[in-house]
Symmetry: none
Subunit: 195 residues, 4 copies
DNA sequence: CATGAATGAGTATTCATTCAT
DNA sequence: AATGAATGAATACTCATTCAT
């Protein structure tokens, strides 16, 4: 069997797991259900992943990969123009909040299984976010567009808190009205960060 | 058996369920474990609660009761001094974030079981929070201490978002350092809300 | 529920497991089958034993208990009359060889699961057998009825080997014809042990 | 592909199965594991053997072949000198007991799958052993070196029992100390068989 | 009211075997 | 001939819930 098809199967399962867990949480998503959604047999499921927790790990790894790409671009922008980078980040947060599945999926992460891979992926994501935001704030401070009465690290932390709040809000309230939240968030950021 | 003892038993179970679920999530907290922590038999457990979901409902109801009390006081203060009320609310949020169990428990709520009682309690809590915050902001606007370029409802929503972010942050990072987060939050609120 | 009934249930399961495993071996005896034979549900099975291996452990523990009783009597006899004790032991071996289930059960023990309890029980049984046989031979040597050109330990070892051979023979050939094997065994022991 | 390579593959699988089963028993040796040890894919495995039981059958057939060769030689010797043949047989038993894998493999045979081929091989081995030993004893009786107060068949049976005991002993105690067991066994045989 | 033995549907996972490439 | 992806029946074990005592 070709490597392409093999990858496709794997991706199907990851995708199915993502959707199931976003809707019903980790524990209530049975492997049988994921198999059904992915259109594979239980045997195939365990051919690709040793345990159910491992698929969650793969889902997170996948998400981490996408986050890395987005943050890479934000990082590049920040070096030139922190305000523009901030706006990119804001768009990214709103994108996530608008993705119905993702918003639901975040909730899952409150009750993760004891699994090294899963824990590692979560830590990596948190670490990455923290790093990039801190860097972004530091750049803004140097460029004179962001207040300097707090350390980049602390301001970055609060940006993270804000993002989490928006995501949770979206998970609760359903698909967030982007047109409302977007401008409001811009306004908030200006007030919070201006020198 | 006296009504007092009956109530005590019930409270023991609720408390045990709260602690178990805060630590391991809803699904991974077994009734057996809750019974053990509460010091009762499974028979007794199901004597007081028809299902496992019902205990979660009771836990939430309990929390809602406490929230009501806190918010009642905040409401009273707001009528006279919205800024002072805001500070009370901020304290309340920090209290919650500092309560290790509660921070963990919030995470649970991402993956709740299909249960009318539970859903109702959650809705009531959200509704109450929204109402009080909106009211608080409206009062502040009238008193001239809060910006008036947005509706009380929208500003209230963002306060809610902020609170959720802090709670989630606490759940992830462990017991939050109050001394750091507290002043920063005050600063944030001032920047966000001043006219 | 009374302690008596509780013990009875446990005993039922142990007995069922013993019979199933004697007939089909450990791996091929499913818990479902054992439950059926014992007349209990799977829930009850796991209420009394944490794992399938644990029942095997209990079966062995049970057998060890019976072995202890038999060997206690043999030990007592040996102090006075080693030849008589030897005959008691021979009877015991033939009893075991005649028990169709037991003969089959011995075979199981070739492929035991990795389980501490099981391993311990097997070791205890082997140890006990070795001890008693060694003691018996030593007594016979003192009483002048057993050859003294080998150590009690070595002679005891060969008695053990003989017993294993008889048991295996019985497991293969079906219910052993006691009337044939009995006298022959006496003859063998005389030839092997006389001074 | 040449017949030689074909045979080699087959032999590899048989050898791998032998080693796996000797170590973990029949049920606990998975086809995947055997494939890995043999260095072939599952497809190849099932190309050469229709079922897992069939490989066990082949392993036994292989062993039977080797047994035949040994016994052929013993048979030849017996016609001239039963005592010498007995010593050859004793060496053979000790060889088997010293072979760590074989000793372990014997244990497997307690829990064999329901399979005609396997059963046939086992029966053939038992039959052959019985025949040769009976013949050997008969020759010894004619040569005046073995007691004549029992039939060759019964004496042969006891020799078989003894061999089984030694094998089981080896399986339990690990690699048997040949230097100890060898002379002792000679001594036993002399005592048991002399006229 | 309190207990804990009993239940059985449900779950993750294993593994011999098939078959398209 | 050789591969290894795919299958799905089978299995040990969990856990919310019931009910006789």
């Amino acid at each position: 069997m070709s490597a392409i098809r093999r990858t496709a199967r794997r991706a199907d399962i990851i995708d199915a797991a993502y959707r199931c867990m976003a809707q019903h949480g980790y524990e209530r998503s049975t492997t049988a259900q994921i198999c059904k959604v992915a259109g594979v047999s239980s045997g195939t499921f365990f051919h690709y992943f040793p345990t159910k927790a491992a698929v969650l790990g793969a889902v997170l790894e996948d998400g981490l990969q996408r986050t890395r790409e987005v943050f890479e671009r934000i990082r590049d922008t920040a070096a030139r123009d922190a305000v523009a980078a901030l706006d990119q980040w804001r768009e990214h947060v709103l994108d996530e909040a608008s993705d119905e599945n993702l918003a639901g999926f975040i909730a899952v992460l409150g009750a993760v299984p004891d699994n090294a891979e899963v824990a590692a992926a979560l830590r990596a994501e948190a670490q990455l976010t923290r790093e990039v935001l801190t860097e972004l704030v530091a750049a803004g401070q140097e460029q004179g567009t962001i207040r300097t009465d707090r350390t980049p690290d602390r301001i970055g932390t609060w940006l993270g808190i804000l993002a989490r709040g928006v995501l949770e809000h979206a998970a609760e309230e359903g698909p967030v009205v982007r047109d409302t939240l977007g401008p409001e968030m811009t306004d908030m950021l200006i007030r919070l960060l201006r020198p």
